[in-house]
Subunit: 235 residues, 6 copies
Amino acid sequence: MRPVAIRNIERADAAVLARLGAAGVSTVHEAQGRTGLAKTYLRPAWSGASAHGSAVTVLARPGDNWMIHVAVELCQPGDMLVVAVSSDNYDGMFGELLATSLRARGVRGLIIDAGCRDVAALKELGFPVWSRCISGQGTVKATLGAVNVPVVVAGVAVSPGDAVVADDDGVVFVSRAMAADVAGKCDARIAKEKGVRRRLAAGELGLDIYGMRDALAKAGLVYLDDAGELGDMPQ
Amino acid sequence: MRPVAIRNIERADAAVLARLGAAGVSTVHEAQGRTGLAKTYLRPAWSGASAHGSAVTVLARPGDNWMIHVAVELCQPGDMLVVAVSSDNYDGMFGELLATSLRARGVRGLIIDAGCRDVAALKELGFPVWSRCISGQGTVKATLGAVNVPVVVAGVAVSPGDAVVADDDGVVFVSRAMAADVAGKCDARIAKEKGVRRRLAAGELGLDIYGMRDALAKAGLVYLDDAGELGDMPQ
Amino acid sequence: MRPVAIRNIERADAAVLARLGAAGVSTVHEAQGRTGLAKTYLRPAWSGASAHGSAVTVLARPGDNWMIHVAVELCQPGDMLVVAVSSDNYDGMFGELLATSLRARGVRGLIIDAGCRDVAALKELGFPVWSRCISGQGTVKATLGAVNVPVVVAGVAVSPGDAVVADDDGVVFVSRAMAADVAGKCDARIAKEKGVRRRLAAGELGLDIYGMRDALAKAGLVYLDDAGELGDMPQ
Amino acid sequence: MRPVAIRNIERADAAVLARLGAAGVSTVHEAQGRTGLAKTYLRPAWSGASAHGSAVTVLARPGDNWMIHVAVELCQPGDMLVVAVSSDNYDGMFGELLATSLRARGVRGLIIDAGCRDVAALKELGFPVWSRCISGQGTVKATLGAVNVPVVVAGVAVSPGDAVVADDDGVVFVSRAMAADVAGKCDARIAKEKGVRRRLAAGELGLDIYGMRDALAKAGLVYLDDAGELGDMPQ
Amino acid sequence: MRPVAIRNIERADAAVLARLGAAGVSTVHEAQGRTGLAKTYLRPAWSGASAHGSAVTVLARPGDNWMIHVAVELCQPGDMLVVAVSSDNYDGMFGELLATSLRARGVRGLIIDAGCRDVAALKELGFPVWSRCISGQGTVKATLGAVNVPVVVAGVAVSPGDAVVADDDGVVFVSRAMAADVAGKCDARIAKEKGVRRRLAAGELGLDIYGMRDALAKAGLVYLDDAGELGDMPQ
Amino acid sequence: MRPVAIRNIERADAAVLARLGAAGVSTVHEAQGRTGLAKTYLRPAWSGASAHGSAVTVLARPGDNWMIHVAVELCQPGDMLVVAVSSDNYDGMFGELLATSLRARGVRGLIIDAGCRDVAALKELGFPVWSRCISGQGTVKATLGAVNVPVVVAGVAVSPGDAVVADDDGVVFVSRAMAADVAGKCDARIAKEKGVRRRLAAGELGLDIYGMRDALAKAGLVYLDDAGELGDMPQ
């Protein structure tokens, strides 16, 4: 890793980001072929938040938040700050003061593969954070990392400028190149689900709506009237 | 495991279920001899929910929610759907559409030894879910499991028709055969605790109410006035 | 371990405790040189709570809450009960009845390196608990531990009478001897952060406020205009 | 749970057990429809061990090994002792002295959903143990559990007299009623795998031996000559 | 994710791979700027193994090893098979038969972000595997993934053809483009450490060899003759 | 935490240490009242090792092994180096070069609440290490901690000069003040167990040797001839 901070990156399109944000994490994840979802240990610091934007990426060292300070200057309105750490760390690398600074720059939220703190203040500020844990543990400013280089965050490879969507279901990343295509698939998916939801609410079965009965029979599913019939089946 | 779906099961008695539900998880667990509690990793998808009902059981395969679709049809009003997975899995096997479908059939809630998603929508629907994690990760419909066979969920053996009680303290299962007996013990326990609670609130000590002082002395507890006296004790 | 209950301990000064409580967990932790923070697995049973007080310590055995009953009698108004367990345990050692009893004695909250239960009732009572997990699992009263001896709780060594501060960021302990000194450092820190917060909110950068640019350059951070320049750098 | 010790149980057939033991854990698990495998946290205390036998079951309380002492007397030559705990526990419930006693009674090994200790001595004795962890932590003898009742061990429901097979791959349980049938399926599986192994060693591909190519094509797998062709594919 | 299998990839240079393999995991990791190390949960299935080669990558679905069968055909002598899974999975996706097949094709070892089984046989074959766990749990062949696409394995982004080095210290990946450069840095590092090792063995101190004393003093380290002097220090 | 290195500490008595080492971890733990055992996640880097000595303690920062270098100079023959970290860390803070240096000073082993690396070399050197994990991840030398101050290691409070015993069962600490007393209790325990072991090997039951039958009956244990009798019992 070379200790660099890259000033200019290409960002995802704002209108596309808005459509992805409206679709939400689970729909985006499905629409891009069930990929890009962060591991489930990334959770919102306060529930009910959602956010989307272009990724400004940080590679920090364990117990050291120096590079987050470097990254603030390189953020623009509409960005999401995305922090990876070079080895597993649970310290509270981010708190109220950094949130105040990011908010002043128009940043929409933070994804951090480590801990955050000052959660009561973050909630009051309305600044959304998805983190590995809540931790009051402070950090040092001693060792360089990098800003706006490719990173791996909670199991997903993320490049600067990638689309980020986060809500109560977790965090999903979409490569900038694919973002418009995925947004289109989200729209189609939402339209289709609307009809399905109405039919399910009316009591129709997914088995019938999705036409699963034949496939189940072909796969070998056997319906029995009661458990007593199990004894008559071959093992 | 044979790929079967059993249509008819005997269910726990509705009045008994209501008494168990009113007692709540911790009381039910105590009343049946401190057994039947699911491991603590099963947590409510949204806090404040509680639910009770008869178990319709599902054995699913990891990353595959096909059998949940099969199970919906076999549910009745007042049931709780209880999903086990054949090996550890954290995917979001259950979301808003399945909740809409279960709600349309009168199902009261879901216990799932895997992940769930669409948690904001589940909360808005008021459909309670206890799961291993929140995950947007989608699943396939490719491999058979079984419906209404005995399963192990979060460390507890559960049979179809067993009583299920879930609230903010977690999830407890009671075998159908024992349900009435346990409900009776819950009632007795609640009555007794009411008096104890009043006495404790008035400042009486548990040591006196429960008569523990003799047993403590017999077990060898020594009261010292201050830490300085420790030096005079034999090791 | 000798099975003792020590009646009298020296407590932290009430005015100092109030200042530490007002500062909050993360500030106290920083002010005492980034030490004393409990591991992040200790979480509030209900969010939004905060509490502070002098530690009354308990060493319990796994699955056994007998010593908590012994400790209640030794608590005074303004205390925090702090429960360690002699080996890892996740049972629900503490619930509504014990909370009622502690509240009657003026105890401000509980820190427990095991599970708690009756969380809905605890929230309704407004009795704050920081625990390792929520668990309905009941416990026995069969084996002695100790009260008011030094313990290790969630990775921190705690002595009776130490200061305890807990909020949504977690739990921090301060030795009684250091409490006044740490409170002074908290006050200084809070005063200083107020000015920084205002400047950050106005758009100034931490890089400038904290004067980090020289140190970053000296450490070797290289700013690049875009990723294309990476190719020109030596590895 | 009622505090009982049941003296007489029906055991699995010795010849069937020998065939299951010879097949090994992974083959037995496959042969019974991929069920019955204990969670992977159960590991051998020393590697290279294998064992099989009829289960004598114990339900112990956390941090308390009293019921193991009760169970010893009820074991016969050829048995495996199988210990469940009523809530998660990691203490060293079993060590050299108990192993010496079990060995004197002809017991073949121990499965314990908690910790064991004296591992150097266990290895020297050649007494095989599969446990959740290694722990020197001692236990008390204060609270009753049960012997020879149905239990859940590492996620599997086990009844007294069930077949147990354990080796470096982990632990698998087979219900006594199914044991002969599963042994037959193991034999068939082993015979079939022998031929497959020889063909694979000679360089034939599983794709051809198992005839997977058509199914892969039907499922939609696309072969590309190189990554450059990805650009020509529809998303 | 598109379901593709890419036949031809560029591989890392064999001579470079040999130098990286000789350097070992920890040295390679340091030489490339402390990056590329897999998370520590990837452990050797049997200790004492080491291996290196070019990565053939697989993206599998949870509980489904179909794509591993597809990948075998695309491997060449000197390759390492590297298997990612699209969500966390602990099943035994790989065992003796697949190892026999890979060995017949000259593959040097397996890295799998899931479980493996038949460990006794793998050890006997001398086929090295680094996996997340040991598990006898079998898998299905039902859902497509991809072969030779970029993946994330145990927290590291890996592309087909990247260099892989694995030993008792874990697993490290080096991008193909950097491999020669990193090998050069390894050689330099090894040469330098040889001299340091000899001096340390002779009793010289790292403090002196590395010239740390000034930096420590400047950072503020204070040497005290004994703990009694602590009382004289300002906090 | 003040950044100090304390040069002179009082050490545990060599003869007492030898007796504790001969007794082994589990016996020492029992002999001092079942206290002082490190959490079970501390495991030997290579099995079969055992070591004992006086603790030289280090408090390091996450991802930073600078203070270990400081500590080496302060070690004497017969010491054990004991490293705590100020927040959870899994990096490979210790490897072959530091082991070479410690060995040159007569240090007997390392206990580290973080990772270690170069495990093949450590085994070849015969230098024993108990660590949280194996990790090739390198560390920096940038931030001060302290040497020879009280620390908490894997859940146990340890002071400089305390006795340390480590073997395949884990790690136990004994305060210097109690060491002689605990060694005496170990001797008594070993003498007593020798007789018990012989009787157990001869087929006597622990139930009889320890005289447990009365206590079991008094506690309410009921022996049944077979499971059929359960139906006749009151719940």
